[in-house]
Subunit: 342 residues, 2 copies
DNA sequence: GAATCAATTCAAACCGCTTTGGATAACCTT
DNA sequence: AAGGTTATCCAAAGCGGTTTGAATTGATTC
């Protein structure tokens, strides 16, 4: 059942039917109701492909997922971010397009997405320092929103980010207040922008107390259980081991916990741990009482916000670029306690 | 730059240019090369929206992600499955459409996807027993592939699945061979088809050794760290606690490990654990030596296979329905050992 | 009563591509 | 040399909607 058939059945022109369905004012209310009823009765759904061609809009948003050919890692926060963004798209009748491309082809992929007219805008994930995609997107001229920020970017852009610096600063201060002075930082890869900001927060907190940072107490690696475990073991084997850890993710925190327990220590008593908790749906940090003390910020909410921003940019091109800094909560769990005396 | 402009620039008709670019035989080779060169030079990309309308094909595949309104969980294997499938789509110039919808609207969502012509086929995720989506998709008449199977389905359908029953049967046998006779099953929610099959495998192995199953040694819950921890604690507190666990996921396995360690026991020595490992990129089970002994099957590969199947179905409608059973490897890690004497 | 206007409706152009059904010219056949 | 191929190219008709520019009608104004 297409528009023409429906129009014929109603004894109307396609023009009027189209207008009736799309809420244009120049159509008689009685007619509109007749059309609406017929459309419902015949289960008429306008063909999206035709609408897209006719209106010149894609009614779709792109997410490009670069798959590194070396370390084939898919960001675990991705699923939840998508879930948040996707709800917003669905509600607004937009499609969400996922492009999984080898990272070497990422740039080409954005250009193609734009030139072929597949999307009206994109969300950029996991920005790096001075991320080349930002000038690229400016060049392409497609609306975009960055999940995160990119230190060093020369031009303005819309973004949603967690205040990573402040979150880690507060977490470090909390540990310092508990008497910990040797705090291990188990960070993500520091070409990622958020990782740099977290380190800055950590360093700021130390500096405020006049504590000199120690390179051996800072690691930067992929945020896996394994790498957390490795970092934990290494630091705990130091002559003067840390009494607390600040971990960039729950997963690496679990690795650290394993290292702690392997050494016969107890997390929360002998060694304190704070993680960053993205509040992933399949990775809840405890039920009533959190397992880990954590800086928490829902990545799903971030997805929702980013999607809304993007739809706004698409609807009002040339408007100003929204920027939204989300503060992380510091939630107290069972993994932190006063520094042991000694 | 569109087709008409390009044609004008070349002094050819749109017809010929279109044919030249699409490899039709009725065009002079010299002309074709001239066209190709011009297309490249002017960076011409055919407008996808127009192609879709003209050909009547969506060149897109849909994945519907139902978001349960109660327990808002996003399946953690989802990201990796998508990554595998996405590569295949990209290579074949198909788009991947993600629809995130409240689970109550899932059916409507499939119907809309089809009626509006947004996709040429879909992949069904997380099938349940007697899953209503299978007859639904038959009714709609859109090609589809199921990731998993649905016990009780009345009609044939294409699927890719892991041999969950055999995997858990082998794992249980392995534990039995090590002398464990009390094995706790920490299963996923048993309205999910795979969870039922895993339990069947576990029960089959016990039955073959003449061991009667004990309801208290079997739990079924969401596969989170918390629920694994809870199940582990409960079972370890039994008068005759299990000496081994069979866990449906790495995440719940980590919860079980935590429970084991909280009771002052050592995993792999006092209590053995086998998990199912989906080989997720962000959740590697160790590097050289696996942490957990595991039944392993790459969900990313499954995504790749499912996507290939679906594209095959779309290309050859009415062909027969491929079905692919993947065997899981049983890989030995550090979490299993002989049952303690006593 | 003619002119003006608002309310409705429609025919036709258009979006940018594919595809059908010729057209044209060069090349063979017999 | 007429008829038949073959190779090459093109005009025009879709695909299924939206949108522009007019037409029609009845009501209102002067």
């Amino acid at each position: 059942m297409n528009l023409k058939e429906l129009a014929t059945k109603l004894g109307l022109s396609p023009t009027t039917v189209s207008r009736a369905l799309n809420g244009y004012p120049e159509v008689n209310e009685a007619t509109r109701e007749r059309v609406m009823a017929a459309a419902k009765r015949h289960n008429y759904r306008p063909n999206t492909r035709a609408i897209r061609l006719a209106t010149g809009r894609a009614m779709a948003v792109g997410h490009v997922i670069p798959v590194a050919t070396r370390h084939e890692i898919v960001n675990p926060i991705f699923a939840d971010f998508i879930a948040g963004a996707g709800e917003t798209y669905s509600r607004n009748d937009y499609d969400m397009l996922l492009s999984v491309v080898p990272d070497a082809e990422e740039e080409a992929s954005y250009r193609a997405l734009s030139a072929k007219g597949n999307v009206d805008g994109v969300i950029l994930h996991s920005p790096r320092l001075d991320d080349p995609r930002i000038p690229l997107m400016h060049d392409i001229g497609l609306p975009f929103v960055v999940h995160g920020r990119s230190t060093g970017a020369q031009m303005p852009y819309a973004w949603v980010d967690v205040n990573n610096r402040r979150a880690f600063q507060r977490a470090a201060e909390f540990l310092l207040d508990l008497g910990h002075s040797r705090i291990g930082l188990v960070n993500g890869l520091e070409f990622m922008d958020f990782a740099v900001r977290r380190r800055t927060g950590y360093l700021d907190a130390l500096a405020a107390r006049g504590i000199a940072p120690e390179p051996d107490l800072m690691t930067s690696d992929e945020m896996t259980e394994i790498s957390g475990h490795r970092a934990g073991l290494r630091m705990l084997a130091m002559p003067r081991p840390p009494t607390a850890f600040l971990c960039s993710s729950m997963i690496s925190g679990m690795g650290v916990r394993r290292a702690i327990e392997e050494r016969g220590l107890v997390m929360g008593r002998d060694v304190s741990v704070i993680i960053h908790d993205d509040d992933l749906s399949y990775m809840k940090n405890g039920e009533d009482v959190p397992i880990f003390t954590a800086t928490r910020s829902s990545v799903r909410d971030a997805g929702r916000i980013a999607a809304e921003m993007l739809l706004g940019l698409i609807a009002h091109p040339g408007g100003d670029l929204p920027q939204r800094l989300l503060e992380a909560d510091l939630i107290i769990g069972q993994s932190t306690g006063r520094a042991p005396q000694g």
